[in-house]
C-alpha cells in the first residue's frame, strides 16, 4: 500500500467512484426498505390508518399463547432444518470436494458438473419432482425400496408429521450440496503444490494429508459455507411453500419462519394479511439472524488463521 505512506495526498476520488454504484443501489433498494419494515412493526392499523403502537405487536407475538406457540414451533422446526443441513449437506460436500481434488482423477469434470445440476434447478422443479417420486400413488420410492428388500421401510414421508420436515431438509440438502462442494473445491485447488509435496516427503499422504494439511487451510472456506447455510436456512421459504403449501402441513409440522411470515404477512384462506404483525415477525427473524452472524463474525472468523501464499 505505497500510496498510503505518502503524506498530503489529494482527495482520492477513485475510492468514492469504486464504491458509489454499489452503495447507492444497495442503500436505496435494500437498507431503506428494510428499516421502514422494521419501523412498520412498531405500528398498527386502526381504521385503515397507521397508529404508533410501541412494542404491542411483539407483546402479542410472544405473549399471546396462539401466536407464541406458532412462533416457537416455526423456530424449532427451522433450527432442526439447519441442523440437518450442517450434519448431512456440508460434510458430504466437503467429502465430495476432497475426492474431486485428488490429483489425476479421471472424469473429474463430469462428476463435478453432474453433482452441481440439482443446485441450478428451481424450488418449483425440485419440490414437485420429489413430491412425485415420494408419492405413494406413483410408487417409484416404494418399488425401489422393494428392489433392495426394504419395502417395509416405506412411508408417505411428506405426509407424516414426524418425517415431513426431515425429508424436506434432506431434499433441500440434496439440492444445494453443489455450493459447499464448489467453494471447498476452489479452496482446495488454491493450496500450493509445494506444501503438498513437502507433506509427501514427510510421508503424510492420503487421508492424514487431508486431515492435517488441507483441512486447516480450508477452514475459512468452511466457515463461509456454514454461515451461508445458516442465513439461507433461516430465510428459506420456497421449497416448503412449493411442496407443502402456505399451511406447511401436515399440521404445521414443516412450518418454518419463512412460511409463518408469509401466512401472517399476506394472509391465507380466510385469515387476512397483517403487514404490521408480519413486520414484527420479520424483525424477530432479523434478530435471530443477527445473533447467528455475530457469533460467526466475532467468535469464529477472527480465530481462523489465514495464510497468504
Amino acid at each position: 500500500m505505497a500510496s498510503d505512506t505518502l503524506n498530503k495526498k489529494p482527495v482520492r476520488w477513485h475510492i468514492a467512484i469504486f464504491l458509489a454504484p454499489a452503495v447507492l443501489v444497495y442503500t436505496a433498494i435494500m437498507i431503506l426498505p428494510l428499516f421502514s419494515t422494521l419501523q412498520l412493526s412498531l405500528f398498527t392499523t386502526v381504521d385503515q390508518k397507521l397508529v404508533f403502537a410501541g412494542l404491542d405487536n411483539f407483546r402479542t407475538l410472544f405473549g399471546d399463547e396462539r401466536w407464541a406457540d406458532s412462533f416457537w414451533n416455526a423456530f424449532g422446526n427451522n433450527s432442526w432444518f439447519f441442523l440437518v443441513h450442517m450434519v448431512v449437506q456440508n460434510p458430504i460436500g466437503v467429502l465430495l470436494a476432497a475426492l474431486l481434488s485428488s490429483p489425476r482423477l479421471r472424469m473429474n469434470a463430469f462428476y463435478r458438473t453432474s453433482i452441481f445440476i440439482p443446485t441450478i434447478l428451481s424450488f418449483v422443479i425440485v419440490g414437485f419432482a420429489w413430491k412425485l417420486i415420494l408419492s405413494p400413488i406413483w410408487g417409484i420410492a416404494p418399488s425401489m425400496l422393494d428392489f433392495i428388500g426394504l419395502k417395509s421401510l416405506f412411508a408417505p414421508w411428506l405426509g407424516r408429521d414426524e418425517y415431513a420436515l426431515t425429508t424436506l431438509a434432506l431434499v433441500s440438502g440434496w439440492q444445494f450440496i453443489g455450493i459447499p462442494m464448489m467453494l471447498i473445491y476452489a479452496a482446495l485447488l488454491s493450496i500450493p503444490d509445494e506444501i503438498l509435496e513437502a507433506a509427501e516427503c514427510d510421508g503424510i499422504t492420503g487421508f492424514s494429508q487431508f486431515w492435517k494439511i488441507k483441512l486447516p487451510l480450508i477452514l475459512p472456506a468452511i466457515g463461509i459455507i456454514s454461515i451461508l447455510t445458516f442465513v439461507g436456512n433461516f430465510n428459506a421459504f420456497d421449497l416448503i411453500y412449493t411442496a407443502q403449501g402456505a399451511l406447511a402441513g401436515p399440521d404445521y409440522s414443516t412450518d418454518i419462519l419463512g412460511t409463518f411470515l408469509y401466512r401472517t404477512f399476506f394472509g391465507f384462506q380466510l385469515q387476512l394479511g397483517d403487514p404490521n404483525m408480519g413486520s414484527a415477525i420479520a424483525s424477530a427473524m432479523f434478530l435471530i439472524i443477527l445473533v447467528g452472524v455475530s457469533i460467526y463474525l466475532f467468535g469464529i472468523q477472527t480465530r481462523l488463521r489465514r495464510y497468504q501464499f
Binding site: 500500500m1 505505497a2 500510496s3 477513485h14 475510492i15 469504486f18 454504484p21 454499489a22 443501489v25 444497495y26 433498494i29 435494500m30 431503506l32 426498505p33 428494510l34 428499516f35 421502514s36 419494515t37 458430504i92 475426492l99 474431486l100 485428488s102 479421471r106 469434470a109 462428476y111 458438473t113 453432474s114 453433482i115 445440476i117 440439482p118 434447478l121 428451481s122 424450488f123 418449483v124 422443479i125 419432482a129 412425485l132 417420486i133 406413483w138 410408487g139 417409484i140 425401489m144 464448489m182 473445491y185 476452489a186 485447488l189 488454491s190 492420503g206 451461508l228 421459504f237 420456497d238 404477512f265 408480519g278 420479520a282 424483525s283 432479523f286 439472524i289 452472524v293 497468504q308 501464499f309
Partner: protein
Amino acid sequence: MQSARQSYGRSIAAHAILATYTVIALFPVFVVIINSFKTRKAIFRSPLSLPDAESFSWIGYETVLKQGDFFLYFQNSLTVTVVSLALVLLFGAMAAFALSEYRFKGNTMMGLYLALGIMIPIRLGTVAILQLMVASGLVNTLTALILVYTAQGLPLSIFILSEFMRQVSDDLKNAGRIDGLSEYRIFFRLVLPLVRPAMATVAVFTMIPIWNDLWFPLILAPAEETKTITLGSQVFIGQFVTNWNAVLSALSLAILPVLVLYLIFSRQLIRGITAGAVK
C-alpha cells in the same frame, strides 16, 4: 511414497463414492424427463423404463405448449438474470476492490454496512419495497426485479470478492503503480483477471437464486407479460396438478433450457476455477 497398488485402490474408492452420488443427484431429473415422454398409463405402470414405441407420447408437451407461454417466460427470466448478474459483478468487484485495497476513514464501517445484506435477507423488507415500486411506477416491469436482484446480490459478492482480492499480491499492484498505471487500470487490467475464478464462483452463486426466485416475481411482477419461468411453471403446475403428463412435461421444459445453459456455461466456470487457482 505410496505404492502403486494402494493408490489404485484409493482411486477406485473415490470413483465409487463419486459415481454413487452422481446417480443420487441425477436420478430425480432423469425420472422426470423420461416419464414426460410417456403415455399416462406407462407413467404409472413402469415409471423407471425408458419410453419405447408403444409408450411414447407427446401429449404432455402438447398440453403445455397450448396452455402456457413458456418462451416468453424464459425470455423474461433470461433478461432479468443476465442484466442483474452483470450489474452485481461489476459494482460488486469495484466496491470489493475499494474495501480491500485502500485504507481510508470508515473502511471497516463501510465493510460492515455492506455486509449487513448477507445477514438480512432482502425479503424481510418486501412490503416497503413494494410500496417503493408502486410509488415509482415500476410494478409489473422487469426493471423492478433487476433492481431488487442487484441489491440482493451485491453484499455477498462484495464479501467473497474482497476475501479473494486481499490475496492478490501487493507487489504486483505496486509494480503497476510505478509503471504509471491509474488506479482504474490497476483494477481492470491487473486485479480483475486475477480474481476471475472468484468471479465465476460469485456469478454462479448470484445467478441461481435470481433465476429460481419465486417470491419477488409473485409480488412485484405477476402480470402475464412479465412472468418469469419459475413463477410461470409454478402457476401452470398448480392448475394442472392432476394431469401427470402435463406436470412432468412442464417440469422437463423448465429443466431443459437451464440444463443446456449450464452445460455450456459450466465448461467456462470449471476452466476458470482450475486455471485461475493461485498456484
